[in-house]
Symmetry: C2
Subunit: 157 residues, 2 copies
DNA sequence: GTCGCTGCAAAGTCTTTGCAGAGAG
DNA sequence: CTCTCTGCAAAGACTTTGCAGCGAC
């Protein structure tokens, strides 16, 4: 039985729910709940960023040095989580994918090409339009990403 | 001096303009106009699809078997064209990038994470909203990109 | 002629797979 | 106990790089 210290603050309940979903997913597919899978889920949960398999692996090595989790396990677990729609992967310009928990709140980015500052935003109207365009084409959205590039207020001075 | 048969139909003028831009780009950077670079540009121009380096290479081998263009040249030329903003690359779910000529009319992409198929679309409403969000934040837009990821109609079956 | 370009093959990256031992159920 | 998981290392897939000869300018 895998056991790790899960000393979260106020978010503990949310995480427990997530963990429970994961356990059910595993049970339903006759898969095993291992400590490696648990810490990977937990690390994804704790991270505010989109993680590459490599950066996730580094986090795991730093935070759980005793487990000696292999990169292959990271890839295998991410593939499992993605298949089960628990995480979403995004490909940005560079090579490789980035992963994030599917449960997180969505937002888009406005990026200043002068100072590099990034502003997050959400626009309900755009979200609605996206859904309706997708629906029209019979497309089932799993995620989207939008970046607006330009010069921010400060840099225009 | 590179020379290939450019027997287009009504689009010849548009292509000549593009080719001219390319030649100027090369000249400005003291780079050379080679037949390999010309046929790569032409093949991208003729193609209606988003091409991977590999699929582009196949097209080149079929259409210009005498040139024996190497895959390395394809990669190098695509990198050159992308740096110069003449082509745009997209990363989708699977591994690898797909390229398209940047000169084409602006559009966004809807990408199937199952089969990799890409549908282009433009929505005036979204474009307007982007402008208005940016204006509200005092942000001066230079460019934007938007990708919607999901499962296409076919792959849902 | 000069110096960048090309094809080839070798070297890098990133990701997946085979396998024998470890461990969850 | 059984059968999946894991870490390791080897194998794959995709991309980049080094080099000697070729070719645009």
């Amino acid at each position: 039985m895998p056991t790790i210290n899960t000393d979260f603050n106020d978010k503990t309940i949310e995480y427990k729910q997530l963990l429970n979903d994961f356990k059910n997913l595993l049970k339903d597919n006759a898969l095993k709940f291992t400590i490696q899978r648990e810490v990977i889920l937990q690390t994804l949960y704790k991270s505010d960023e989109h993680l590459t398999p490599e950066s996730l692996h580094h986090l795991l090595q730093n935070n759980f040095p005793d487990l000696k989790i292999g990169i292959a396990t990271v890839y295998r677990t991410l593939a499992l989580l993605e298949d089960s729609q628990m995480v979403t992967s995004l490909s940005f310009g560079a090579q490789g994918k980035k992963y994030e928990l599917g449960a997180k709140e969505h937002h888009d980015h406005m990026i200043c090409t002068s100072c590099g500052d990034i502003t997050e935003f959400v626009d309900e109207e755009i979200e609605k339009r996206q859904d309706s365009i997708a629906a029209k084409l019979g497309f089932k959205i799993s995620d989207h990403s939008m970046q607006i590039y330009g010069i921010c207020k400060n840099c225009q001075k």
